[in-house]
Symmetry: C2
Subunit: 359 residues, 2 copies
């Protein structure tokens, strides 16, 4: 089992990664002084696969666990489902020293984190992410949120989990397409922070795709480590942390314009990373050969590198302007300077953006 420590003063917490560890959460849970009433939030699919192991482990330690299931899908990550969960917690009698666990992907993690941060002004929560994307991205960094019809994650909080518990074996049941979408974020960490890690993803591709537990533990651990490193230096997303949005300015717009239906988040980010590398190249910041390396790695993992002619430039630009990362109308891009190093650029010329996304 690998442990990554996220250092955030009194909000510090550990991320534990291993194979077959889901059923031993109870013993870990017990080390905290929580009230006897706890709750587990999940969806029927994930709960059907792993719920019993987790709940039994907690009940064996004497906890009374209320199970709250919400339907599977991004469209249920909204304010009213958050309200439903909050009401269930109240009815179950959870108090301010209770904890709530999130078992599932990013949707479950984000909405549960939001609920935990607003229930009685904040109770403890623990993440048990079961998708690669949630394991390397949404379970780390304290971002919680629900969607609004005017934009993704427009409502949420910054709120740290008390523990993240990652069992890489859960990836065996994850649809291949979702696994690959998660790989987009893994690749992102290589591009923004660590050339060596990028190269590891090139050379170890086959073992990674065959879900080798050692490889998975390593890439998840290193991804969390990089994210933890960045977040520790900038918890509230005031500066450095913005580099984690590499691929996301364009990626979110791709999702918005296609109504969140055509692409998985990671696929949209893959397209975004290629576009933003090309924007960087067009501005003379980034080398053409390295931009090609990024595109090639993304494609080698079966990820889309372009949306083809499906995206209309005006709609894309409008969607980017509404993105919550846009401050006072200024678009910011995270642009690679070399693989392993990026910079943040404001005021990128609109024609350059059109030139890249318009084709």
């Amino acid at each position: 089992m690998e442990e990554i420590r996220v250092e955030l003063e009194e909000r510090s917490y550990g991320i534990f990664i291993g194979s077959g560890i889901l059923g031993s959460i109870g013993g870990k849970f017990r080390k905290y002084e929580f009230s006897p009433k706890a709750a587990l939030v999940s969806n029927p699919t994930v709960y059907g696969l792993y719920g019993e192991a987790v709940v039994d482990s907690l009940r064996n330690e004497g906890y009374e666990v209320t199970v709250i299931l919400i339907p599977d899908g991004e469209e249920y990550k909204d304010f009213l489902w958050a309200y439903h969960i909050l009401s269930r917690l109240l009815k179950a009698g959870l108090d301010r020293k209770s904890a709530v666990l999130a078992l599932g992907g990013g949707v479950i993690g984000d909405i549960t984190g939001f609920v935990a941060s607003t229930y009685m002004r904040g109770i403890a929560y623990m993440q048990l992410p079961t998708t690669l994307l949630a394991q390397v991205d949404s379970s780390v960094g304290g971002k919680t949120g629900v969607n609004h019809y005017l934009g993704k994650n427009m409502i949420g909080t910054f709120y740290q989990p008390r523990l993240v518990w990652i069992d890489v074996d859960t990836l065996k049941s994850l649809p291949k397409r979702e696994f690959l979408a998660g790989m987009a974020e893994v690749i992102k960490y290589g591009v923004i922070w660590d050339r060596e890690f990028f190269d590891y993803l090139v050379t170890e591709r086959e073992r990674i795709l065959s879900l080798d537990p050692g490889c998975l533990t390593h890439i998840i651990g290193r991804s969390c480590e990089i994210k933890a490193d960045v977040v520790s230096r900038d918890e509230r997303e005031e500066g450095l942390r913005a580099i984690l949005n590499y691929g996301h300015t364009v990626g979110h717009a791709v999702e918005t314009v296609t109504g969140y239906r055509r692409y998985l988040h990671g696929e949209a980010v893959a397209i975004g990373m290629v576009c933003e590398a090309e924007i960087s190249e067009a501005l003379g910041i980034f080398d053409r050969a390295e931009a090609a390396e990024i595109k090639s790695l993304i494609e080698s993992y079966g990820l889309p590198s372009t949306a083809g002619d499906a995206l209309e430039a005006d709609s894309m630009l409008k969607a980017m302007a509404l993105d919550k990362k846009a401050v006072a109308g200024t678009l910011r891009f995270v642009l690679p300077e070399e693989i392993g190093k990026v910079r943040i650029e404001s005021g990128v010329n609109e024609d350059v953006i059109r030139g890249v996304i318009g084709d």
Copy 2:
């Protein structure tokens, strides 16, 4: 103008108190580097009286202000009205560097704070409290919240305002009954922290009741100072801060049992303070003569000191057990040892509680 500083590291902020200062908020607002789009949340009554002064002041400084009104009343402090405000902010295009102002009483302050803390994971908010209760209580301390049908303030966050701007002239338009209810919280600060302040409230009663601006500035300032002092030492309500709940364990139960209809919050707290002083007396912790002083001061401000025979002890005890301050089923009381000093007691014998509230 008096300034009280609330020291909470990077979340520190100032409380400014004065007479006739509402129309000069714009100049103060300008000192922060907010985006040009701002929003003001209020209710039709308060907005009709003071809205124009505030909005003009902001517009004169070049800000584009969206006005969001919610109906007047505690029953509108709920999750769906919070969602309404969040949607309006999104439609108006407020970004992460925008600020939202709360002009009104506790309902407006609490719901606006909750909205500000969850809009795009938190934007700046400023409080312009117009009731005595909000000025001395809910505008200080960073508690935000909305009600749930299973309990008051069950959903909320800890989130500090960037500024509190108190114009004592707004108290002239406040119904007398609401002013007196606010005085209950002012009296509370004397009992829990400052005998001298308690005595000031005894001797200066007439000037206070005639709304003398100097007196009002002093009692609001001193109340904020005491609360700020307590909150600075315990922002997340883990220990000391609980003393601010003097009168509230019983007070909240009175509100719950009477469906939040019969008493204003401050009136319920007044009853609660008398009950809890009597519980302390019954336990031999508190002197009978001092308990009588508290009751006498409360009555001299025209506040209720007892609910008569209207409250049934079983319902009261049940309501107390659901209070979010009850941890794992244990009831805690804040009990006076002398005027100016209180202690927290767990496990008060139920018969003692019945003996006091049952009569």
